[in-house]
């Protein structure tokens, strides 16, 4: 991606678009999903989903396999018809529209490039369906290819492309006809890790350049964190929580969300009369106003700090005392597993310094760890 400002219009055709080429075009429109219930065969997969995708935003549907995230995407694309509920794109109610009239660009997991067409023919396909003049088709195909850094690939056979190149062609084909929104179903899952990470950065740039409202499905939390403006965590056919990556990571409301995004340990706590207790001892938490069902204390390994054993507790910190069960060197950091007095195991992650002031705690040593009140998050323990 060449993140040059002012060329987000590159895929658009000549003519009236050319005149406004230098002005940023806001093409994003919101997607509004209300009370969506979808069944596949006899099984209900989505149980009443409400979701607002803001204009121009990159929203990721994150969830385990079988959670219904792909079904939700296919409902927007028109391939899964809802039993109840409706979907609006911009001001248009598209609930009853067939897929081909929705004007939605879809990048499928397998890319779904047409093997009997060249790269150029694949990208020209949606334009030909719209009876775009021949000269304009050629120009727009070239611009779309340039956008995904495949300039000059128009005459190549699809079969001769690498996985990453196919992925780019699929993206080019999905945006060349100026769809109102862009949907992507785990588009990077078939690529190996380094390529996947490079493509994530490219997709970020592409989204910034095009300004298209994008809904992206993945089960990969890192991918979701890297790409998204906001993430909607889906579990068991429902949206469990929606928010920016920071909000979801720092303030998950359920144990499920906490476990799905990042490493976590969740300790059982009692909440009563505005006080939180763990094993009978009071715990200071960030937000006591969390709801009544919240009976889990989320501990992120990197928020724990090791203290010298028996040291004075720092201000505004909870101190947990335990025994080191294991110390694991993991390259950039060290993971220390600690057994607390009640038998629960919590993990601590600390930056690894080659010449640390204090030696690493060894297996079997007693240890104190501190968790700042503001980092102690209450979550609901039972799923959604």
């Amino acid at each position: 991606m060449q993140p040059a400002s002012g060329n987000h219009w590159r895929i658009f055709g000549p003519g009236k678009d050319e005149q406004i080429a230098d002005a940023p075009i806001s093409v994003g429109v919101p997607i509004e999903i209300t009370g969506l219930v979808v069944s596949l065969g006899a099984r209900q997969v989505l149980h009443g989903v409400d979701l607002l995708v803001r204009a121009g935003e990159f929203l990721t549907l994150l969830g385990p396999s079988g959670s219904g995230k792909t079904t939700l995407l296919m409902a927007i694309a028109g391939f899964a018809l809802p039993d109840v509920g409706d979907i609006r794109i911009g001001s248009t109610d598209i609930t009853a529209l067939p897929p081909h009239r929705r004007d939605v660009g879809v990048v499928f997991q397998s890319y779904a490039l047409f093997p009997h067409m060249t790269v150029g023919e694949n990208i020209a396909y949606p334009l030909r369906l719209r009876r775009t003049p021949r000269a304009e088709v050629a120009a727009r195909v070239e611009r779309a290819l340039a956008l995904v850094q495949l300039g000059g690939f128009a005459n190549r056979a699809v079969a001769s492309l690498s996985g990453g190149q196919r992925q780019r062609v699929a993206v080019a084909r999905a945006v060349v006809f100026r769809p109102r929104v862009l949907l992507m179903d785990e588009p990077l899952s078939a690529l190996d890790k380094p390529l996947r990470e490079a493509m994530q950065i490219e997709l970020r740039g592409l989204h910034r350049e095009l300004g298209l409202t994008t809904v992206y499905v993945t089960h990969d939390q890192r991918e979701a964190l890297t790409l998204s403006d906001r993430i909607a965590v889906i579990d068991n056919g429902r949206v469990v929580q929606i928010g920016t990556p920071e909000e979801l990571y720092n303030r998950p409301t359920t144990a499920f969300v906490a476990r799905f995004l990042g490493e976590s340990t969740i300790l059982p706590v009692e909440v009563s009369d505005g006080a939180v207790r763990y094993c009978g001892r009071p715990i200071g938490v960030a937000d006591i106003s969390a709801d009544e069902d919240a009976q889990g204390l989320l501990i992120r390994p990197e928020r724990l700090r090791p203290l010298p054993f028996g040291a004075q507790a720092p201000k505004d910190c909870n101190v947990f005392r335990g025994i080191v069960a294991d110390t694991i060197f993991q390259g950039d950091s060290v993971r220390i597993e600690i057994v607390l007095q009640d038998g629960a195991v919590i993990a601590l992650r600390s930056q690894y310094a080659k010449r640390a002031a204090t030696p690493l705690p060894q297996r079997g040593e007693p240890i104190d760890v501190a968790l700042a009140h503001e980092d102690a998050i209450l979550v609901r323990r039972n799923g959604a």
């Binding site: 067409m117 369906l129 699809v158 001769s160």
Partner: protein, 294 residues
């Protein structure tokens, strides 16, 4: 010889090839005995008579206009049967490719059932159905749809109906295979890009099933060229296909030389058809071939 030729790897490879040739030996022997030898013998017979070498058996076909019209009829019947088989088989293949589990097995069984039934039984069954006072004519007469019985049998119509019944499965199977090999998401992709079902089918699904269609067409056309039983019984003697000519030459005038010449001509026509179909297939698969070229 360089040291390469004696490398252990190369020796192992050679040994593998030797084993494979050996494993093919029974099949090759069979082909030699039941195909190459008889065809060679036929060709030899067709150019010999009591006085020695002759082209009489071939020149006869050019002089007697009956043979030209017979060849024309044969090609016409084969073409009609092929077209009808494809038209009938394609929707079945579309259905079959979409079904799973017991439904797929059921439809497949229905498609294959005719193949498990004796050809002769099927031929007579069609005779019963199609004849002047057969089931179809009497039903149509009773319903008042027609005033006089239709001539459905003892002509080209009956032959084409019967042969189409026999040949349809041979199109269903390769087309189904081609459709099943296709990523079903391609159809959805076409729709998401703005194609309605009709255009998605003709623009994406149909072109990708062409390899199966070409296989089916070739199979049916070639088998139809040499078909004998149905033209004899359902054609009622008025339809003279090439295979009937061969039979007459042997049974009526026991002229093996003439019959052999006819057989050789049929073989040549078949070879031409197969070559053409190979060319078409190469065109259809040209993108697939790019796959191999990388």
């Amino acid at each position: 010889m360089t040291s390469l030729t004696s490398s252990p790897h190369l020796r192992a490879t050679r040994r593998m090839i030797q084993i494979r040739i050996l494993a093919c030996a029974p099949a090759l022997t069979l082909v030699a005995f039941v195909l190459i030898a008889p065809v060679g013998w036929l060709s030899w017979l067709s150019v010999r008579d009591s006085s020695g070498f002759t082209f009489r058996n071939y020149s006869r076909m050019l002089v007697n206009s009956g043979y030209a019209s017979s060849l024309e009829t044969t090609l016409e019947v084969a073409a009609l049967v092929t077209v009808l088989s494809v038209v009938l088989a394609y929707p079945v293949a579309l259905l079959l490719a979409r079904l799973r589990g017991w439904q797929a097995r059921l439809v497949l069984a229905i498609v294959l059932l005719p193949l498990w039934t004796s050809l002769l039984v099927r031929t007579f069954a069609w005779l019963v159905l199609l004849q002047r006072h057969g089931l179809i004519n009497s039903t149509l007469l009773t319903l008042g749809i027609i005033d006089a019985p239709l001539a459905l049998v003892n002509n080209l119509t009956g032959t084409v109906i019967g042969m189409t019944h026999v040949m349809t499965p041979f199109v269903v199977l390769p087309v189904t295979a081609a459709l099943q090999a296709m990523d079903p998401l391609l159809y959805q992709a076409a729709q998401s890009l703005g194609a309605n079902r009709w255009r998605a089918f003709w623009g994406v699904v149909f072109p990708l099933s062409l390899s199966g269609v070409v296989s089916g067409v070739t199979l049916v056309f070639v088998m139809s060229l040499g078909f004998y039983v149905m033209p004899s019984f359902l054609g009622g003697g008025s339809l003279r296909m090439w295979s009937n000519r061969i039979q007459t030459n042997i049974e009526v005038y026991p002229d093996w030389g003439a019959a052999s010449a006819l057989g050789v001509v049929l073989l040549l026509v078949t070879a031409v058809v197969l070559t053409l179909s190979g060319r078409v297939m190469a065109l259809v698969l040209v993108r697939g071939a790019a796959d191999a070229r990388g």
